[in-house]
């Protein structure tokens, strides 16, 4: 909401502040000023000049030479190309060294304005410039009397040569932009903000005195109103104006509307807009002669009811929407826009003013369904105070009379079944102080309430709240009123001093952090991707048609299909990130993500889904399957998972290379999987490099993780190492060999290390050579050859049973 300071000052006389002071104080008392703009910020040395004499330019057909009286004795000479000036005209003149806001074409305005200096135009001296409204930083939208092309001309008699032209145009003003919170419906009108300003600066608040001069007739002879759906229309008021004379509204009204960003149209439209801005109460004017049956009916629309709004758009209504009808047909969509069939035209003679109160939620939903967003609607949506309607409609009628725009028929139609009464809130200064941590005396609190028109009753210890402050409901709300005028800044700063609590990170988060840090040591950087994605990812990842991962939580109103399901696999996010990097030619990329997948327990969703944090690692470039395997093991070791990890090559993942994938099994339970990305999937993600991924399920890791460590002692007795070399079928996995060595090695086996693996010449087709170095140690004594020989014999015989041939 934008409002000029001059309009606020109209209701807060004596308010004398700079724009910055106003901004700071209002913001601290709760009416946040987002910014302000001085309308005269780039207007310097601009006065009213009267053209005394016009002569042709000796050397240019399109230029004229004017002698202009600027109130300084001798007229000054100005050369102009403007076509619209005549001798005797009063015009804005920027003097030598002055400044204007923009060019005459109305194009974008330079930040610092345009400096004007005297000079020569085609050899003739020119000591200033006559200005168009665009050069003064505005436009014909806001100054409709300005000519389309050319210099702004003042009304004769309204100004004198030498006057401040900027002031004469109403541009010595500052327009403030507010961020009004949705609970302060009253502050969506200038009067509400003025009331806040008065309270903030300790000035009297003087709203307009509304008195309507009306004729002897009765409005009831002109119109009858019936509200059929009172649940959506708590109040409907109407008045009639006859003998209407459509014309422009006065300059002061145009200026105020312009400053609020509303284009002046004519006196009647301007009055409705002006009152809407002033009181925050939208109004509508109907041409009474178009209303059939002298009747207004407020009802829900019929399903599929067609309607054309005054902007010429056709709409199809439904039975959730409220319409204003005459005896035969709808003439307006309540609270949103009137109809073309009843709109005010220049030929209007008699008019019906409407100031009503509609159900805010209903208006909002209707507007949404219709795809409409009008000023009136945005005000109604917030839920207006029905008690404001009469004041607004009377104010409009007062202005009609004042502006000579018509004659007001006596009386008001007012359909108001359930009057809204002021709320009474129990109040305790002590409780307020206890909540705020302050020591503010009761009298001071009452002082703040008075300014806000809240009435404190010492008898009952209650505060009566006017209906326009529907945001105030309980003691906490009153505490806020006290706090914001006492000043949030003046409230002390303390720390809570209750029972001590232990700050902690839950175990699951500690495990996550340890895993993340280890990944970072291994060169993986942290990525973050969206939780939702496209249902198409499952095809992209070659998931089976009946894969359970395809059972997803679907967003009913997504931003688009690409963001429509909650992910059940973290892979797509990771592969997209790798793909972005690959396409940007980043080399050797390693990423991890620690984020949730969302597994529904049943569909449609009727219970909280299983939100499982997945630790996803992905890389391309330097490194291979075993690099990734190493990272997985480093991470598991870091979180105390030191038991032997089993890698089952039958992970069953379609998106991984069929010969290069493994389920990661710990303690007999699958805790994740890893592998090389299937080249088809890499193609789908446009990654032209081998990609390795690993996914670990954090809830399972958390179950098995520990940060407990026990010192095991450093071996005192020497170790014995034996190397064995064997030839075996290619299809045998070294994992099988290792299991046998471990099983048969018994207690004295300390470690085993694969030190050579070879296929090729010297080894027969289909076989491979594998060599291990096996270390034995007894913690209690020095091993003898015989001990080791016995164990080795068991190992070798078990290996031979697998068909493994030992190389001697």
């Amino acid at each position: 909401m934008n409002t000029p300071l001059s309009w606020i000052k109209a209701y807060v006389p004596g308010l004398d502040v700079t724009a910055q002071e106003y901004t700071d104080a209002m913001t601290l008392s709760g009416s946040k000023v987002e910014g302000y703009e001085a309308l005269d910020k780039n207007l310097e040395k601009i006065v009213v000049g009267q053209i005394v004499k016009i002569e042709k330019h000796p050397d240019a057909d399109k230029l004229i030479v004017c002698q202009v009286d600027v109130g300084a004795g001798q007229p000054i000479q100005i050369v102009t190309g403007a076509p619209n000036v005549a001798e005797g005209d009063l015009v804005p003149v920027v003097l030598d060294g002055g400044k204007v806001a923009g060019g005459h074409d109305g194009g974008p305005m330079p930040e610092g304005g345009i400096r004007i200096k005297k000079g020569k135009l085609r050899g003739v001296e020119s000591n200033g410039m006559m200005c168009s409204i665009e050069e003064l930083g505005s436009s014909r939208d806001y100054y409709p009397e300005a000519p389309e092309m050319g210099i702004y001309i003042f009304e004769k008699g309204s100004v004198q040569p030498g006057d401040d032209a900027v002031a004469a145009l109403g541009l010595r003003d500052v327009v403030f932009e507010y961020e009004i919170t949705s609970n302060r419906v009253d502050c969506f009108g200038v009067l509400g903000i003025a009331r806040e300003a008065a309270a903030t600066f300790g000035r009297p608040f003087e709203p307009p005195k509304v008195e309507v001069k009306e004729n002897d007739e009765s409005v009831n002879d002109y119109i009858r109103v019936e509200v059929k759906d009172a649940d959506l229309c708590p109040r409907y008021t109407a008045r009639v104006v006859k003998n209407i004379k459509i014309g422009p509204s006065p300059r002061w009204m145009q200026r105020r509307l312009a400053a609020n960003g509303i284009r002046p149209i004519n006196n009647i439209v301007d009055i409705t807009n002006y009152v809407m801005e002033e009181y925050g109460q939208p109004m509508h004017a109907y041409d009474l002669d178009t209303i059939s049956g002298h009747q207004i009916i407020v009802r829900r629309a019929e399903d599929q009811e067609p309607f054309v709004t005054l902007d010429g758009q056709s709409h199809t209504l439904d039975d959730s929407m409220l319409v204003i009808c005459d005896a035969e047909k709808p003439i307006g969509i309540a609270g949103i826009m009137g109809g073309e069939n009843s709109m005010i035209t220049d030929n209007v003679r008699t008019m019906l003013f409407e100031a009503a109160c509609f159900n805010g939620t209903n208006i909002r939903l209707s507007g949404k369904k219709l795809g409409m967003r009008t000023d009136a609607q945005s005000k109604f949506e917030k839920g207006l105070d029905p008690n404001n309607a009469i004041a607004a409609i009377d104010r409009a009628c007062q202005l009609v009379v004042e502006l000579g725009a018509g004659e007001v028929v006596g009386g008001t139609v007012d359909v108001y079944l359930k009057k809204k009464e002021p709320k009474v809130i129990p109040f305790s200064a002590e409780k307020v102080n206890r909540l705020l941590g302050t020591d503010i005396p009761l009298e001071e609190m009452i002082g703040y309430f008075d300014k806000l028109e809240l009435k404190y009753d010492p008898e009952t210890s209650t505060v009566e709240v006017p209906t326009f402050r529907q945001d105030l409901e309980g003691l906490a709300d009153l505490a806020e009123e006290v706090a914001r005028f006492y000043g949030y800044d003046n409230i002390p700063t303390t720390l809570p001093n209750g029972e001590a609590t232990t700050g902690k990170l839950p175990f699951a988060l500690r495990v996550e952090q340890a895993a993340k840090e280890t990944a970072e040591y291994c060169g993986f950087s942290e990525s973050m991707t969206y939780s939702f994605e496209s249902p198409k990812v499952f095809d992209k990842l070659l998931f089976d048609a009946d894969d359970p991962a395809r059972q997803t939580i679907v967003i009913s109103n997504p931003l688009g299909e690409d963001f429509s399901i909650m992910r059940t696999t973290p892979l797509n996010g990771m592969l997209n990130s790798l793909s972005i990097n690959y396409n940007r030619r980043n080399k050797d990329v390693r990423l991890y993500e620690m984020a949730k997948i969302y597994l529904p327990k049943s569909l449609p969703l009727s219970d909280y889904p299983d939100e499982r944090v997945q630790f996803t690692l992905g890389m391309y470039g330097e490194g291979d399957f075993f690099t990734m395997k190493g990272v997985v093991e480093e991470c598991l070791e870091r979180i105390g998972m030191k038991e032997r990890i089993v890698y089952d090559p039958n992970a069953g993942k379609n998106f991984l290379h069929p010969g290069r994938q493994a389920a990661i099994i710990y303690d007999g339970e699958a805790i994740g999987y890893m592998g090389e990305l299937h080249p088809d999937v890499a193609d789908n993600y446009k990654i032209g490099s081998r990609v390795y991924v690993a996914v670990l399920d954090m809830p399972k890791l958390t179950e098995k993780a520990t940060f407990d460590r026990k010192y095991e002692g450093i071996a005192k007795y020497p170790a014995v190492t034996r190397d064995i070399s064997m030839v075996m079928n290619k299809s045998l996995m070294v994992g099988q060999v290792e299991s046998i060595i471990r099983e048969k090695g018994g207690k004295i086996l300390e470690s085993l290390e694969l030190f050579d693996i070879y296929e090729g010449s010297q080894i027969k087709e289909g076989f491979k050579s594998v060599a291990y170095s096996i270390t034995f140690r007894d913690k209690t004594r020095t091993l003898e050859d015989k001990d080791v020989n016995d164990v080795m014999a068991k190992i070798l015989s078990a290996l031979e049973k697998l068909g493994i041939e030992l190389r001697k």
Partner: protein
């Protein structure tokens, strides 16, 4: 004989002094002091000397041996030092050659900011708790004093799953879960993802992160809220940071406020980052609305509390001067490695 000894001594010392390498010294040792060395052979000729002169002669030989040995030691030390010096001289490297780095990975800027926030609040006795992202409408709205039809419900442009479930629009719902179940007093923060139906652009993302904070105890005051958050701001943005509380409106707190901090780029003088105001808006906060307490089964007459919500991306973007929010979700290596 004496002359002979003196001559050997001179000769030996002469050769020692002219030695250039440690090996030469060893040769000299063998030549003079070894089993077949000069001095040894003179000792052997002792039998040719009169017995009464033998002690004096023996002393002379020993003295000569001592002299030679001492000289030898001196020379050895000197040569060893020279050799070490030569080695060091030969081993000069170009220290400006590139480093061999381990290529450590980098944390996401969001995480760095979150870790900071967690560290500060854990230090103040807060527990970190998780909350569901797929949330019930009740916890996201109604329990936070946002009933059906409330404009705030619309302002937030919610992603719905069905009538009952939605993607949470704020982490505040986690408050309610904690209030319903945890023993009092409560001091917790709850970070996590939240969702709003905003199209992706430089300043919006449909999926982003918030951190919710909640304190419930007897006698918690607005002054405590101010003190706690001022402390937080100083920890996060530096000791010099000042804070300003402005009245605001949130349905689930009353009184409510927004907190600004002095611009951490210009220190409050006014710059492009703070749009000249010297202040930067950082979080929303307030005293927990009595209705919210009551709905969660806490007696507002006995207990009070405060809550606050911080946008994680906002802090990360401001702190690291990142000018486009989309960068946070692209995961470009060249972006991530700057943190």
């Amino acid at each position: 004989m004496k002359e002979r000894l003196e001559q050997i001594c001179r000769e030996a010392i002469g050769r020692i002094e002219s030695a250039k390498e440690l090996d030469t010294l060893n040769d000299i040792r063998v030549a003079f002091l070894g089993k077949k060395g000069e001095l040894t052979s003179i000792m052997k000729s002792m039998k040719d000397i009169a017995p009464e002169e033998r002690p004096a002669f023996g002393q002379m030989v020993n003295k000569t041996r001592a002299q030679i040995e001492q000289k030898m030691e001196e020379m050895k030390t000197r040569l060893a030092r020279q050799a070490r010096q030569a080695q060091l001289k030969a081993e000069v490297i170009d220290v400006t050659l590139p480093a061999k780095k381990g290529n450590l990975g980098h944390k996401h800027p969001n995480t760095i900011a979150l870790d900071e926030v967690e560290r500060i609040f854990i230090g103040m006795g807060y527990e970190v708790v998780d909350g569901p992202e797929v949330e019930k409408d009740y916890y996201n709205f109604e329990a936070l004093n946002i009933p059906d039809g409330h404009p705030a419900k619309d302002e937030q442009d919610t992603f719905y799953i069905n009538k009952e479930f939605l993607l949470r629009t704020q982490t505040s719902g986690a408050q309610v879960h904690v209030m319903e179940t945890a023993p009092l007093p409560i001091r917790m923060i709850s970070p996590g993802r939240v969702y709003r139906s905003d199209e992706v652009d430089a300043t919006h993302s449909p999926c982003f992160h918030q951190i919710e904070g909640l304190v419930i105890d007897r006698h918690i005051t607005f002054a405590d809220l101010k003190g706690t958050l001022a402390e937080f701001a100083r920890e996060l943005f530096g000791e010099e940071t000042k804070v300003k509380f402005r009245p605001h409106h949130f349905p689930f707190t009353e009184p409510s406020a927004e907190m600004d901090v002095t611009c951490f780029k210009c220190g409050g003088k006014g710059c492009r980052m703070c749009k000249g105001s010297g202040w930067i808006e950082i979080l929303g906060c307030g005293m927990v609305h009595p209705r919210v307490l009551k709905m969660s089964g806490i007696d507002p007459e006995e207990y009070s509390g405060f809550a606050f919500g911080v946008g994680l991306e906002r802090i990360a973007l401001l702190k690291y001067e990142i000018d486009d929010m989309r960068l946070l979700y692209e995961n470009d290596k060249r972006f991530l490695k700057q943190f």
